[in-house]
């Protein structure tokens, strides 16, 4: 049965789009039929991170409003044939999405794909609530930093009240994806530790993605980091997170980015 996953955070710039692309590609590499959907109408970026910005013809708004068929707007990934992108509109605003239209499009996507990953816009307004509305499961992307944790807490509240599942009285599973994590700084008491964030937000951990230069390098070249450099530490962390999303039980380790002399030095210390 198809799984609709919302990738959300409240705060902007924490890594929602990067994570949507990386998890989507990792799930597709695992064999599922995957679509990543950009709900950030007006400020689309998932197309850029996926490297498909020059192939966008129709978008989510066109499909929602009935100006284009779903298959016309879907963009097949050139690297993985079982990965597709449904881009957002760049010229319209989020009011162009109607609740009924989104419901219809998500239902259509459920027929075609095993995994539907919805990249939510930042904020707690209409765009964000529409992105989470039909989700079966939520990935809450958080940085170990006070404003991000606060906003995630707010988003968790919305997931428990504004989603279809919540309105039916069901519980929506929520997973924490801790991104841009610096294990060395956390061990020195300069950054909130994983346990701190987990204790405060009280949702299970999907993965810890280390702060890494590879993430920027991947977005520079327009590839999900899991495809751009599959052996890099963020790529491995995302690949494991994707397997956990599928229900596999894998122990979460704290990945350490090894780059340069100091990175190696701290890396060894954090591992020891």
């Amino acid at each position: 049965m198809a799984q609709v996953v919302v990738v959300t955070s409240g705060k902007g710039g924490v890594g929602k789009t990067t994570s949507t692309a990386a998890l989507g590609a990792a799930l597709a590499q695992g064999g599922g039929n995957v679509v990543v959907v950009d709900f950030d109408v007006g400020l689309r970026n998932l197309d850029l991170v996926m490297g498909a910005e020059r192939r966008v013809v129709f978008d989510l708004v066109n499909v929602v409003q009935g100006d284009a068929k779903l298959h016309q707007a879907l963009i097949r990934d050139k690297r993985l044939e079982n990965l597709a992108l449904l881009p957002a509109s760049q010229t319209r605003d989020k009011d162009a999405l109607t609740s009924e239209g989104v419901t219809r499009v998500v239902a259509e996507l459920r027929d075609k794909f095993d995994w539907i990953l919805c990249d939510s816009p930042a904020g707690i307004e209409r765009g964000a609530t529409l992105a989470m509305r039909h989700a079966d499961v939520a990935v809450v992307v958080t940085n170990a930093e006070v404003s991000s944790v606060r906003d995630s807490d707010r988003i968790i509240g919305l997931l428990d009240s504004k989603t279809e599942k919540a309105e039916r009285g069901q519980r929506i599973p929520k997973h924490l994806l801790l991104t841009r994590y610096d294990a060395a700084r956390a061990s020195r008491g300069e950054m909130l530790k994983t346990e701190d964030v987990l204790e405060i937000l009280s949702i299970p951990l999907l993965g810890i993605i280390p702060e890494s230069q590879e993430v920027l390098r991947a977005s520079n070249i327009g590839a999900p980091v899991t495809l751009a450099n599959p052996t890099s530490s963020p790529a491995r962390a995302y690949a494991e997170a994707a397997r956990r999303l599928k229900g596999e039980q894998i122990r979460v380790s704290v990945p350490v980015e090894r780059s340069g002399f100091f990175g190696k030095l701290f890396g060894r210390r954090a591992v020891a």
């Binding site: 006070v146 807490d153 707010r154 008491g189 300069e190 909130l192 701190d196 405060i200």
Partner: protein, 90 residues
């Protein structure tokens, strides 16, 4: 500054953790139920306005969210008793 203070200065994560715990305990209560502080403020002002004229611009509301207790301070400028009595009859 000795080595110990240097070490302590860097440990900002525990401060972040504590600030978040206190803040979120309050925010969850507010978002989950009604906005208790706003309701209290409104009802207190209404009760006082029944008896004396209250200038809304001269009401100061201070809130200090703490753990385990918070304080809500509502500072209302009340006209002197004479004027209040006149206002009450008028």
């Amino acid at each position: 500054m000795n080595l110990l203070t240097l070490f302590r200065r860097r440990e900002s994560a525990p401060v972040a953790r504590e600030r978040l715990q206190v803040l979120l305990a309050h925010e969850r209560a507010v978002v989950g139920g009604s906005d208790l502080v706003a309701v209290l403020q409104e009802e207190i002002l209404t009760a006082i306005a029944k008896h004396v004229a209250v200038d809304r611009d001269k009401v100061q509301v201070k809130l200090d969210r703490g753990d385990p207790i918070s304080t809500l301070e509502i500072d209302i400028e009340v006209p002197t008793l004479m004027r209040a009595a006149v206002a009450g009859h008028g």
